[in-house]
Amino acid sequence: MRSYIRVIKRASLRHIGYLAFAMFLGVYPLIFRDPYFLYVMINVLLYAFLGEAWNVIGGYAGQCALGHAAFFGLGAYISSLLFIKLGVSPWPGMLIGALVSGGVSVAIGWPCFRLRGAYFALATIAFAEMVRVLFNHWEFVGGAVGLRLPVLGDSLSAFQFRSYLPYYCIISIFFVLSFLLVWKLSKSKTGFYWKAIKSDPDAAESLGIDTTKYKLISMFISSFLVSMGGTFYSQLVLYVDPTSVLVRDLSVRVALVAIVGGMGTIEGPVLGSFMMILLSSLIRARFGDVPGLHLVIFAIILVVMSIYKPQGMMAILEDIKSWIERRRSLGAA
């Protein structure tokens, strides 16, 4: 027991941060009991989860993919279709959707990975747009009207709940699992290869690393997770249409959450999500009645941040951390 206490005393700021966040997750619904606040936090955690997923390909493997809405949408549509048409529970539906998304992402990634930088980004944008146009026109998936999931009240098997609390718990678990997954990966051999590929793909290739294979792995994992997020979303909102799950805006938002937070860091997406999603919700609540004002405010913050602290929130936190540690060591000395 005493060893545990010693461990906590000597824990670094980072680990204290993790503990604090873990406790925050549990305490939040006790303090903020209003459904509205729960709903906002659910969205924040959802985007943190999506941001972690994007980070796998964008931050770690270094490929700027801007078409992830396609996988989000695929996950949402597949699980919803299976439920509506065949009565398959969204839980296995989520898995199926994720596998399909993973498969599609690998299929599209394989030819596209020979494209570099901006070309790759644009190829992903084009791909996502193609998926959106297709779904918008396809009668089977409801076309522009989309799909409406029947309201069934509390039903675990149908992945639906009247209260937001179960959703909150589920997305928290998703997020924590993705966090742990990314953590494990970043420390593994795969993560190491990703770092190599990101910093200099040619050098990595010449060292014998199969860059394509590892890029594909990152793509699969990334799209798998994002697709799960899509299913979660469809069970939360109970309405799926191309404009809400397949738009370019969503792809950019997912990427921005990771970028604003700090690319290639595990904690980045959390900070990014709080900054972007939470902040934008609050600003919209306060200023939403003047058209466009809340977005102007948000955009100004974004521009200023992107010029002066392009490494994102993590960089700001690192600054604070070094400041604290300097004070600590000065105090100790």
Binding site: I8, R10, H137, G143, R148, G153, L165, P291
Partner: protein, 452 residues
């Protein structure tokens, strides 16, 4: 040490989530639960939470208004918002109009309580719409919701309202599916697209054929690829054979397109007698310019209000926009019979710098209907308001729309909402159908470009 640390963190997370999961539900709102049996069997009953409002009559009645104030539908959203805002101003103030609640300040049965509007921007996103509905109901404590123009948002937002037992008055979303959910708290004052495609378009075409013998046989459908466009197209495709028309060209195009010349060429090649078009403003203008450039027009040109009713359309195309037929909930020329229409329009112009049109007239009316119901209820209790809404029976004479309001208790739809058809003549929308009621004569077939 790392291992121990990880264990501590993981254990904390698990404990936290268990704590969170066992958190007691929100205390204030839940008092009584009433389980409601539905008309629709597929869906299980949605538990309704009834919340009595304690205390004496309030001085302020808060109503939440959801509209797209940014993003895609901003232009219409802001316009509808203005309509609702004007209605509230008239109700709160003392105006000598022949409109319910115009005379006398505020709501007389609630001690002249004033209505306070809380606006929220849903940016055409059903997820944000849901979030804002939650906020308006649980944080702003509104007694009713009005809006949201977008049918997709109407679905999610009104589901939230249904859960809380808060009346949701929808004056401007047209998807017919909204009325088929068996909701108790959803009320729609305008006509759904199912109603107007059949009762307005098809019936009018029938009358035109009978009276003018134009021999209209072929139909061309032009819709933007959005929810509204698709639903309307589905309706038209379903009804066309019933009324004896052959659909010779059926185009759905991606909205906000930079170029539509190929689409128009396709229509021109098929040359339908009647064209029914649903487009938002920018596309409407673009298409119309193309019709001119490619020198083509149908014999009868029906436009669904979305973009063509926006004053910006006529401003942009001028006289080229004449001879278009559209269903209208707003007809300025009816002011001859209802002078109140002109008075309200003048007020709107002085406040917002533009006149009433199709969309904001509906939103305005929805607000009047809602306020009238709250007044008759004499209380801000949701159940009382709901009962009053069910008892609504406002004759057309008292509203700026050409229809009155009476709700069907099973669906929440306004059974009196049958639009009239107007035509653009000399740059103005003039009511031309039903023929017996219309002050002006319809001009068909559409004169060609040279003839103008």
């Amino acid at each position: 040490m790392k291992g121990k640390l990880s264990t501590i963190v993981v254990v904390t997370v698990v404990l936290s989530l268990l704590v969170a999961a066992c958190a007691p539900p929100t205390p204030e709102k839940v008092v009584e639960t009433v389980v409601v049996t539905k008309v629709v069997e597929k869906e299980k009953p949605v538990e309704v939470v009834v919340t009595p409002t304690p205390g004496p009559e309030p001085e302020v009645v808060k109503i939440g208004a959801l509209y797209p104030l940014s993003g895609a539908g901003a232009a219409t959203g802001i316009s509808c918002r203005d309509g609702v805002a004007l209605a509230v101003e008239i109700i709160n103030g003392d105006y000598d109009f022949d409109l319910p609640l115009a005379r006398g300040k505020g709501l007389p049965n609630l001690g002249n309580a004033q209505i306070e509007l809380s606006f929220a921007d849903h940016a055409a996103d059903p997820n944000i719409g849901k979030e804002e509905a939650e906020r308006l109901i649980t944080r702003e404590n509104v007694v009713a919701l009005i809006g949201p123009y977008y049918s997709s948002v109407a679905d999610t937002a009104s589901t939230v309202a249904e859960r809380y037992g808060i009346p949701f008055v929808c004056p401007d979303a047209i998807a017919y599916s909204l009325g088929e959910r068996g909701y108790k708290w959803f009320f729609r004052t305008c006509a759904s697209n199912k109603v107007y495609v059949e009762k307005a378009y098809m019936e009018m075409l029938k009358d035109i054929n009978e009276k003018y013998g134009l021999g209209l046989k072929t139909l061309g459908l032009l819709n933007e690829e959005t929810l509204a466009g698709k639903m309307e197209r589905d309706m038209e495709l379903a009804l066309a054979p019933e009324y004896g028309y052959e659909v010779v060209v059926d185009i759905t195009y991606p909205e906000k397109a930079p170029d539509v010349s190929a689409e128009v060429a396709k229509i021109k090649a098929a040359n339908p007698d009647v064209l029914i078009q649903l487009s938002y403003v920018s596309d409407a203008i673009l298409f119309h310019k193309q019709y001119r450039e490619q020198d083509w027009l149908p014999k009868v040109f029906i436009v669904s209000d979305a973009g063509h009713s926006d004053p910006a359309f006529l401003e942009a195309v001028g006289a080229d926009g004449n001879f278009l037929l559209s269903r209208v909930a707003w007809a300025a020329d009816l002011a001859k019979v209802k002078p109140m229409i002109a008075q309200v329009n003048e007020l709107f112009k002085s406040r917002f710098g533009r006149e009433f049109d199709e969309r904001n007239a509906r939103s305005f009316t929805g607000m009047i209907v809602l306020a009238d119901a709250i007044n008759r209820a004499g209380s801000t209790q949701p159940e009382a308001i709901r009962k009053a809404l069910l008892e609504t029976d406002i004759p057309e004479k008292q509203l700026i729309t050409p229809w009155g309001v009476k709700f069907d208790p099973a669906t929440g739809e306004n059974i009196l909402a049958i639009d009239v058809m107007a035509e653009t003549l000399d740059g103005k929308w003039v009511t031309v159908w039903p023929f017996e009621l219309a002050p002006a004569k319809i001009v068909v077939p559409v004169p060609s470009w040279e003839e103008r």
